[in-house]
Symmetry: C2
Subunit: 133 residues, 2 copies
Amino acid sequence: MKELPRISEAELEIMKVLWGKAPQTANEIIESLDLKMDWKPKTIRTLINRLVQKEAVSYHQGKGRMYEYYPLVSQDSFLQVETKSLLKRFYGVSFKPLIVNFLKEEKLSSEDINELKRILDEKSEENQRKDSK
Amino acid sequence: MKELPRISEAELEIMKVLWGKAPQTANEIIESLDLKMDWKPKTIRTLINRLVQKEAVSYHQGKGRMYEYYPLVSQDSFLQVETKSLLKRFYGVSFKPLIVNFLKEEKLSSEDINELKRILDEKSEENQRKDSK
DNA sequence: TCTATTATATTACAAATGTAATCTTAAACT
DNA sequence: AGTTTAAGATTACATTTGTAATATAATAGA
């Protein structure tokens, strides 16, 4: 397994754009971020290049001179890495308040809530199985 | 409200020590981290000083020449800030997989699970109230 | 009192990050 | 064909972070 590259805050914005749709040219990425990020186009190109160097993103020549970029790191694996890294950072800090905070902040649909409860039930069962052994 | 200072990964280790017990002298902090962190004492002192500059930590003179350091930022407010910042980073990324990841990673006691379910129930009710309006 | 310790303060330096500008080169227009 | 445009490559520069070492000053010991 290859280590996932470390993706900085600013670089993450590029990744999110590419996770939403890929491949995209630099100009398309720039346009996507235009309203949101108040970055100069050159800045965005720098970030894209850094992601290429880090092998989080790659590209191929599209039609004409322009490159089309696509993500090499999936959103899913990134989420997993970040989750673990956050847990590691907070190791030794009680975990529950963290989750509680999350749940409080976030707007969740009824379906989401049900799924989360289902997961908790599974955890619950796991606990019991272990207790009774 | 004062903005909370940004606390780096390494600095966080110092904070965790001080959240566990305060005040502590630099030497006590160094000793606490001795096994855990493979850092030179000078490194730890640098980190402490940076936290003082950032006003995340302060100190007063203890008995003798040594300072006693204590946190100015509570673990609670830090957790809240980090939670929000993570959510902001992931804004636009679906939220549920994040929580699901957390729940899967973590070992939770039965009491924890019950509390989380209670919170979910509350959210559920909130949703209903809104729907019926 | 002079000297050795040692806490604290100051300085160091490379890598990562945020934020671009300039340079080069190839394509498009005249 | 010569010139303008504009991708992409290279370079820039300040700040933050990781990881200390050196300098200073005050205390403790001889």
